[in-house]
């Protein structure tokens, strides 16, 4: 299925569940804190998604490996290549 459609279906389902809870808020026996949670759950969801994403990206940036040894090895090979190619008659 097309990803945009998957997301749209997910969104519709989430909104349906939430509005169902809102509509039945008075009949549900909830204390003030639980009521607050129900009212603001979309906001908290968005905020926590943002924070988790930010955390993941920061972690991945921090652990993005630098490989100076690869650059160094390449540099040595480049020198060897140039020498060898010159011997074989290549004009750079």
């Amino acid at each position: 299925m097309i990803k945009a459609v998957e997301w749209a279906i997910g969104g519709v389902v989430a909104v349906a569940i939430w509005s169902g809870m809102l509509l039945n808020l008075s009949s549900l026996d909830l204390d003030a804190f639980e009521k607050h949670l129900v009212l603001y759950v979309p906001l908290y969801a968005v905020i926590s998604f943002g924070l988790i994403s930010l955390g993941i990206i920061c972690y991945r940036v921090a652990t993005f490996r630098d490989c100076p040894e690869a650059a160094e090895e390449l540099q040595h090979e480049i020198e060897a290549a140039k020498e060898d190619l010159r011997k074989m008659g290549l004009k750079f």
Binding site: A4, D66, C67, P68, L74, K82, L85, G89, L90
Partner: protein, 243 residues
């Protein structure tokens, strides 16, 4: 019989091309458990009329290594990477196609890892990844790392493509798989590489990843640039609503 065709698209790579060819000969020509007398391969250079004389260097290399080993399939003018692969593919004789950049950011030694991995489970595609364990980059500052990781994260969340490195261009494909994918892909630039893997994922081709280190080019200039971020986002959204 040639088993592996290596497609090297070039635009102004006069300095890099002899080096990458030499490295390919060194690493693929050596005796390994894969083959005692080296891998059977050909190199297809797709040069888009580089003004720096890249084709002149190709001809010199053909004198050294033979025009069976190094095949030149030039085009008139700079027409972009995606169509360069299509063009090269027309002439490729190998059962498998390896695509890589000619600017030395992709080291030929990893091709042996690609081949080993492919054989493990007869994968349709093996792709190099900078983002997995033992992968990495050299010469990137913090800003570039943030953009790269951020852009990748957004693509992972929206597209769930089943591959960690979407914008890389160091890959091995079964020949007919690449043929079919390349025909269905329309994007340009980095998004082209991403579209290839996303469409491969949707078509249920099997894919494996191999860690690679990516060393920023030493010689010459990068040709991608300008509004990269804008075109990346646009391309990503297009894939989001179409795949």
């Amino acid at each position: 019989m040639v088993k592996y065709s290596i497609l090297l698209p070039t635009y102004n790579e006069r300095e890099n091309l002899p080096l990458i060819v030499w490295l390919l000969m060194k690493h693929l020509g050596k005796s390994t458990e894969l083959s005692s007398d080296g891998i059977s391969f050909e190199i297809i250079v797709i040069d888009d009329g580089s003004p720096d004389g890249t084709q002149d260097v190709v001809k010199q290399l053909q004198q050294i290594y033979g025009s069976e080993k190094i095949v030149l399939r030039p085009r008139e003018k700079k027409l972009g990477l995606g169509t360069a692969y299509v063009h090269g593919l027309k002439y490729a004789k190998g059962e498998f196609i390896i695509i890589m950049d000619a600017d030395l950011s992709h080291h030929p030694k990893f091709i042996l890892d690609f081949i080993r991995k492919q054989k493990e489970k007869d994968y349709d595609i093996v792709t190099g990844s900078r983002y997995i364990d033992h992968g990495g980059v050299y010469g990137w500052d913090l800003k570039r790392k943030i953009i790269s990781r951020g852009a990748n994260y957004v693509a992972q969340v929206l597209l769930r493509p089943g591959a960690s490195d979407l914008t890389g261009s160091f890959r091995l494909y079964k020949r007919d798989v690449l043929q079919r994918l390349v025909e269905s892909c329309i994007s340009k630039g980095y998004v082209f590489q991403m579209e290839m893997l996303v469409r491969a994922n949707r078509a249920n081709y099997t894919l494996a990843e191999v860690p690679i280190t990516f060393v920023d080019r030493v010689y010459g200039q990068s040709k991608l640039g300008g509004n990269e971020i804008v075109s990346y986002v646009m391309g990503l959204l297009k894939l989001f609503i179409s795949t």
